[in-house]
Symmetry: D2
Subunit: 140 residues, 4 copies
């Protein structure tokens, strides 16, 4: 676990897929952002819930912004770990932060965040329900 | 136009995207199958219709089988052409065939087909409506 | 393990990623073929080797054909298993076969195969080296 | 052309692919970043050059940072336009900016930028050669 990630961070590890590489011989930069997303799914599972359960309440957490910084490349077949945590929780918006590192060496490869706004099926911005605020973020 | 493709074939051309390459320096083999799909969309547009219009009639053309043969690789930034036509039209099923070639040289890169079955939203196999059989395939 | 898969089959399980879905609410049909590929990587790892080691011997196993049959859809966040084995081993060519199933229910979702030819960096078809034939396929 | 994009901006238009949607019925957020990249390729082509020519000079423009803001979703089969321009040109680094909009309505869907550093094959940061600074950015 990273020194900089909070105690409620969730980690997943997996091997880099061949299809995730590009002709520079490294992982294509968009795939790290797919890994961000998969770590959010794992975060939900670790909290005993899921995006599907959130959607069942008639709401969505739409991605409103994404940022990634590329420090070192991941390569095919390496084991990588994605560390994911809730950085900010506001009434209608939340931020997940991420650190991707090489599992064996611990070297940080990519860091980033995604902002999400809570919206109704009609696309109107809505308040994140209290039960979900608690499910998604431990109040210390 | 290929000698082997029928007169009602539809063609689209575009540049190979960098993200479509893999670490072998060529297009990853799954991307040709995405190009197959995009040429089906173009086929629909050329007939003055769309998958969305088909779905609006409460039906889907689900992919039941795909086959691709890889003859030569496509490379980043090259202009490629995908030629698409209806190979078979049955009551509940249809087959699209494809030929992907290098636009400049005419060299065939990949050939293949996809089978589609007509299904209802509940997943039951259904007859392809007559109006759609005519829209999708000219009867000669 | 499937009844139909041989004893040397290798299995991997993982959760379906959100990015792998399409607007039909199911996994896009090309992603199963990426899973085929990832199960080949796992097959290599289970044999104590890797594609990288094969490439280090100056050869490639290029995909020459792929076929997939879609029986039932996979959905977001479900745990799926891909079972992979060597179906045929010839002097210059080999076939991997696959069965993808829902891990919890055992329901088969997709079956398929990929053919691979051994080629040199210059693109010439070559014999699969004996040591690799043994590494990749147990002779019973 | 956007009011906010400079006169040397380059635009490309294409139809949204079915494979680019996700189960929310809209384009998955990572695909806009692939479109950013494809507009960079188009930018190079519009300048009479290519990434391949840059690589042939023994250098790479590695992505060091990406940011995207999602304002409205793109949908399957819609025609979209990506507008791309060089926002900053420094000695070892450059920034491309982007605006993606619905071609028919002009509505902005996504904005963003990518930062690129010039690196040698050994991964060392290098100066962007003068001839490339001129090719990539008109000095007004």
């Amino acid at each position: 676990m990273s020194q900089t990630s909070p105690p409620d961070a969730v980690e997943i590890s997996f091997h880099v897929r061949f299809a995730e590489t590009d002709q520079m011989g490294i992982v294509h930069h968009t795939n790290y952002i797919i890994w961000f997303e998969e770590s959010r799914s794992a975060y939900m599972r670790a909290r005993g819930t899921s995006y599907t359960a959130f959607a069942a309440d008639g709401l969505e957490l739409a991605v409103s912004k994404v940022q990634a910084r590329y420090l070192a490349p991941a390569r095919y077949d390496r084991l990588v770990t994605v560390c994911c945590w809730v950085e900010q929780m506001q009434s209608r918006k939340m931020r997940f932060s991420y650190r991707i590192y090489d599992t064996a060496s611990g070297q940080t490869l990519v860091t980033g965040f995604t902002d999400h706004i809570c919206i109704t099926p009609e696309g109107r911005v809505a308040r994140i329900p209290d039960k979900w605020r608690h499910r998604l973020k431990l109040e210390n």
